[in-house]
Amino acid sequence: MAANAPALTFIVLFLPILAAVLAPGLTRFLGDRAAWVLALAPALAFLHFCTFLGEVAGGEVVTGGYAWVPSFNLSFSWFLDGLSLTFALLITGIGTLIVIYSGGYMKGHPDQGRFLAFILLFMGAMLGLVVSDSFLMLFVYWELTSITSFLLIGFDHEREAARRAALQALVVTGGGGLCLLAGLVFLWNITGVTQLSLLVHLENGLRESPFYLAALVLVLAGAFTKSAQFPFHFWLPNAMEAPTPVSAYLHSATMVKAGVYLLMRLNPVMGQTPAWEILLPFFGGITLISGTLLAVRQTDLKLMLAYTTMASLGLLVMLTGFGAPHAVEAAVLYLIAHSLFKGALFMVAGTVDHETGTRDLTKLAGLRAAMPITFGAALLAALSMGGLPLFFGFLAKEEIYTALAAGNPRAVFFTGLAVAGNALMFAIAFAVGLKPFLGPRIETPKHPHEGPAALWLGPVVLAALGLLAALFSGLAHRYVSSPMASAITDQKVTVDITSMPHLGLPLMLSIITMVLGALVYWRLDTARALMVRALENLGPGPDRGFDRLICGLVRLSVAVTRFVQPGRLEIYITATFILLALTLLVPPLVFGELPGVPAWPQNLLVQEAAFLLIALIGILAVVRATDRLTAIVSLGIQGFAVAVIFLLFGAPDLSFTQFMVETLSVVILALVMTRLRLSPRDHRPVGQMLFDAVVATACGLGFTLLLMKSVEAPFDNLLTDFFNAYSKTIAHGANVVNVIIVDFRGTDTLGEIAVVMITGLAVLALIRVRAGSRTGSGEGR
């Protein structure tokens, strides 16, 4: 199977994206049945990855790929070990169910094709992320997931809240992505390796290098924003604006786990250091507690699930960084269990919302008669989330407690934290899974009835898996949990916990959790009221902080633009000349490169001296001129004098151009004067004139120093010799100046004539605007 695997895997990686491209067309053609057809793509991918289970369970690693940019040793390559294979199976498996579920959920929605396309696009991006081998490929897919999540959250773009949530998610995860890129570049520089597969087996180098902490912080920033850890968690609850299939798929099972995947992937190389084992549990713990507490406060089903997802992610991060022997196995088991039961619960919440028209817990009751199958799936998922025996959730919880329960005070603290967190999650599980279905029925906006097969298939399958995986735990561990755990810790690990409860501290802790959870579930309303009061005096959360940050940025940019672009031409020109003077004067002064006093030229010919004098007189005339027109004309004298000097020094081309340009500029200036009807008198106040004079002399001085400096050095005639020698042979032209302009430095001239043309366009536009405004104002009067 491995022989032709590379080509096949390559195709499978692009299968979801191909399906995404076909989705709109198929939906228009097949209508609501399109979802079932489109679900084939992830299903095929799932089967393809299943074929690797045997190999990976045996400890081998499947790699393959194609050279993408060989010069940067960049390759489009993938790397399948326990970790990435499990993630790939999760993504494609749940993905298939989600596509079918979206078919049912979005039935009759006009943009169903576009929605399915985005979902499949996301699936392709996420698949690429967990499977990629080279750093850059990982980053590219990472950003693709952020973008597709932006598209999905903002799918219902008419609603302002959806747009704001989408933008917020993009800004936070996008920012994190940039930090990740910086972190990856650090890793690249430190280890000189661009392949994850090589990095994972790298022994030394990373942990000791001085840049380790910087790289760690940057990578953590990327992971924490993506997995909604404490300071960056506020975008996840807002992301619930997205349609429920998106919340079920992206914001519970796959996308938010990308951060955890990254931490698990880098664990063998960056783990086991004090920084790693302080930062991760610290942030994980805070997120766990704040998530569960905030969840209790909510009444909306999806928000409760969102906050508990945030809490579970915190738990996962805490476990990954805990460093105890069984911590990684606990993280692996909890990750798989969480994906199964949270995906199911979200889909149940979606079905309830779709059928009854409301998601408010307080308005839902007694739906068990109307929706038996959904109720069954909800109950199974809740039991697994609560961690009751015979369910995969129980295995995960047992493993967590065996990992955390150790003598030292740090372990005790974190165990207490885990118990409290799990208890609250137990309560929320049954609040979502059980409460809406029990008791007498309350009237709801839409008459509830069991949805079509598409709606209940997903939850039932996932919930059943939660049960079956526990019953056949041996099989599950051998093919899924052990290879994943050994991939994370980079040494052979076998997970062997079974669903049969065995006496010991972990079981006792589980019982305490369940009792506490039942208590909170029973007194849920009082607990919610308590939380509401507690949050009042806590003040505004990071969500409003984010809004204030964005408004502040907008105001800052407006202020800067108003300062830099005041719209008055003379300010631009003065600023430009001041900068010019500074660039010319400051460096020589600072670096002490002032030219020496030049020797007085001895062999100055009569006429050269005469024209220099005339140029000087011309300048004096310009400065002394009272009205603008005399200044323009005297400018002409100065230009002529310089042109003649060029002539005397034997530069015919140069003088030719100087004469032409001089006269034409005088003519055009005169034309502008008539056109704009500027008064010839110069009305600048004396102070302004002085300031302008100072700026002008500074620029002049700067240029003179520059010229003196360049003339000081002996004349290097390398270029002149080159051009003289080759001008005739290569360019067939005797006039070296023109040959240079047109042939040797043709591209420069191309640039220059482009500039000339753009100036022409600019003048045309300016005059038309002015003409427009004049005629416009004409009518106005």
Binding site: L620, L629, V633, I637, V667, L678, H683
Partner: protein, 100 residues
């Protein structure tokens, strides 16, 4: 130095001095010129004198290709004067223009 070259170079040197003097006088008129037309006339005169210079230098250095510069300068000088004439016509005496 044959007799011919002797005569020629001395004549050239003298002409250069004379032209230089007239150039200075014209420049003085450009600066002093009370009215605008005075200055424009002086500028036109300036073009003429510079063409004279070019001719002299052409003879002295033997670079006959300077003549083209003289021709084009003549053309453009004419354009400048015509433009200024039109400007004087349109612009008035400089007292009734409106400050934009």
């Amino acid at each position: 130095m044959t007799a011919a070259q002797m005569i020629l170079s001395s004549a050239l040197w003298l002409a250069l001095v004379v032209l230089g003097l007239s150039f200075l006088l014209t420049v003085w008129r450009v600066i002093k010129g009370p009215t605008l037309p005075d200055r424009v006339v002086a500028l036109d005169m300036l073009v003429g004198i510079v063409i004279g210079f070019i001719a002299l230098i052409a003879i002295r250095t033997g670079f006959t290709l300077y003549i083209d510069i003289a021709i084009s300068l003549g053309l453009v000088g004419f354009l400048a004067t015509v433009a200024f004439a039109r400007f004087i016509l349109a612009q008035g005496r400089g007292d009734e223009t409106v400050e934009e």
